[in-house]
């Protein structure tokens, strides 16, 4: 009985320390961060068009496309497809995505298509694509917008982040925001 009462009292004391003091302190400290503790947003003309870290659906031909998503870029949830590598339905789906890309991007070869553009991400909210995935779309985007291909390619290049550690990437939202501003 004594042990039980000690347990109850200790639980209460630790709750105050771990569930109130600690998280509230961090929450206050995070107000000093870029997104003020709520995540960093991106605005165009003063209107929030998205979160820098959260991918959004881009499937219109005039934009650079994001990766396929198992949750349709619904950021109220998150999930991968959880399809196994040998699943025949899944392989069919990938094959269809390749066909779609070939259809919308005339002039590209199969071997130009990088895997990330035809596979779903782990979160379903991947904000990035690989530099290859952006490059393969340059021709299409430039043609639809009647822009100089070189100019669009240069935009992709300037939006390619090559960190010291980890893979190179292109943030799709930032790229498309800049694309809309391109004349």
């Amino acid at each position: 009985m004594k042990t039980l009462i000690q347990s109850i009292r200790l639980t209460l004391v630790l709750t105050a320390l771990l569930c109130i003091i600690y998280p509230v302190f961090i929450s206050f400290a995070s107000k000093l961060s870029k997104g003020k503790g709520g995540g960093e947003t991106i605005s165009v003309n003063g209107k929030v068009v998205g979160y820098a870290a959260i991918g959004q659906k881009f499937d219109q031909p005039k934009y650079f496309w994001s990766r396929p998503s198992a949750v349709g870029y619904n950021a109220a949830g998150s999930a991968g497809s959880n399809k196994g590598p040998s699943n025949p339905d899944y392989l069919k789906e990938v094959s269809n995505r390749i066909d779609t890309l070939l259809k919308y991007n005339p002039g590209i070869k199969r071997s130009d298509i990088p895997a990330d553009l035809v596979t779903a991400s782990g979160s379903g909210l991947d904000p990035d694509i690989s530099p290859d995935a952006a490059r393969v779309q340059v021709k299409r985007v430039a043609a639809i917008r009647k822009l100089d291909e070189q100019k669009v390619a240069a935009l992709v290049k300037s939006h390619t982040e090559e960190p010291m550690f980890g893979p190179a990437k292109v943030n799709v939202l930032k790229l498309n925001v800049a694309l809309d501003e391109l004349r």
């Binding site: 961090i26 709520g38 995540g39």
Partner: protein, 572 residues
Amino acid sequence: MNTELSGILVSFTITLLIAIPLGKYLAKMFAGEKVWTDFMKPIESGIYKLSGINPNQPMNWKQFLKGMITLNSLWLIYGFFMLMYQDKLPLNPDGNPGMSADLAFNSIVSFVANTNLQHYSGETGATYLIQHFVLMFLQFTSAATGIACAVAVFKALHDKTTTDVGNFWVYLVRAITRLLLPLSVVIALILAFNGTPASYAGKDQFISMQGDTVNVSRGPAAQFIAIKHLGTNGGGWFGANSAHPLENPNYITNITEIVSQMIIPIAMVLAFGYFIRRKKLGWVIFGVMTLGMFMLMIPTISSELGGNPAIAKMGISQTTGAMEGKEVRIGPMATAYWSTLTTIVSTGSVNGMHDSTMPLTGLWQMLGMMINSFYGGCGVGVLNYLIYLIIAVFISGLMVGRTPEFLGHKVEAREVKIAALVTLLSPFLILAGTALSSYVFTNHGAADWAVKPSAWLNNPGYHGFSEMLYENTSSNANNGSGFEGLGDNNIFWNVSTGLIILLGRFLPIVGPVAIAGLLGQKKFIPESAGTLKTDTITFGMMTLAVILVLNALSYFPALVLGPIAEHFSMLK
């Protein structure tokens, strides 16, 4: 050098640079020697006073376990009701519903047992109040429980002859005030300043560039994610765990999270050596574990970088590796690296979906969890390894025809029996659980549960079997990751894995504490020429052989039916 490879080399180097001094510090701190964190003493005294605890009271191993079990049982009951009625409680800005009884049972067991299997999804399944007051609370305390029990074993084996294994409350409180809490503050701040939300604001809404209305789940996540890794818990704030771009926004946070889940397991191994004043033993154990880690990690990385052979046939470019279920900012190599570590240290957080990894990657992931002692979870990793050590001592003793001894104490029938029982428990739970679920899947496919058994599997064939094997393995190992395609939120999985977690957590803790308590009470035998030396490389290799043989014998048939068969089917 390739930036992905340098990324993981940097991760591992930082891990060692932190873990090694941390190990020395933990040994001193738990032994009660002077350390720089002694400024926490007044806070600790306050905690003891408010809780009515006498920190100077010695405990024998039975009293120690009584405290541990009472406290953990209290959390089980309290948390169960909190989860069921979370919708009636405050701090629920997103209006999430209460949990069903079976889901609440599974979730609370899973968090008390440092497993974090999560049959719910963070965004919609738990309120902020629950995430902090129940789940995050348990992420601290379950890790501290494991650490406290490991320190009790250190203490029992340190003294020549003793009945005192130390005070449970003191170890638990110190693990929090002088290890978990201060480090969590540092990690949470790193995350918060790299873009992880930390404020209590609820969902946000915006209109995307293509005109879709998007809701974004947020919340005080950085606090939770810090201890989730540090305490080898693994439960995500968001459903997609550390693959979620708010939970793991960039490569720096990825390194932070992977380092933070490794440092305590490694430090505890070294602390063992320092605490019992057999530094060399600690280093030999560390060496064996590190070797084991590389044996699992190298083939994992190579299988992911190779890409999916079935997709390669379609003629596209997989220059970086297999990308299904992975994030571009993290990349296949760091995802493979993480998947090995999260399965060997029993964290179970993921930065990419394990269900979509290559068949052989799945094999190494499962094997890591089956062995469960290459570093292992917070505190419990050392305890699991101790069981293998006792078996190795016993077998070596038989081979040379002497009474087996460990650290100056005779290892006799009672201790070996406990060790053998704990060793046999894992294959029993994993294989019986998988057999039962396979039986239900094939024979009772139409059972009227929340998810019908016929709809459990997200993938057909061998991979479907792997989903069930993985779930049972993860539960027994208190890992908590999953082949998440499995439809697991229904009464069958909630109850069966809940029971497996409970047994897989507490028996492997009680066993080693009892063994150490029993050994510690025995007469001390000074080392002589005839003593089997346990801190040599030869004995280290002997232990590794015991680990590999035991696990191969137990699991090979099941692994053949799942990942190995799938691998060969893809080569056709």
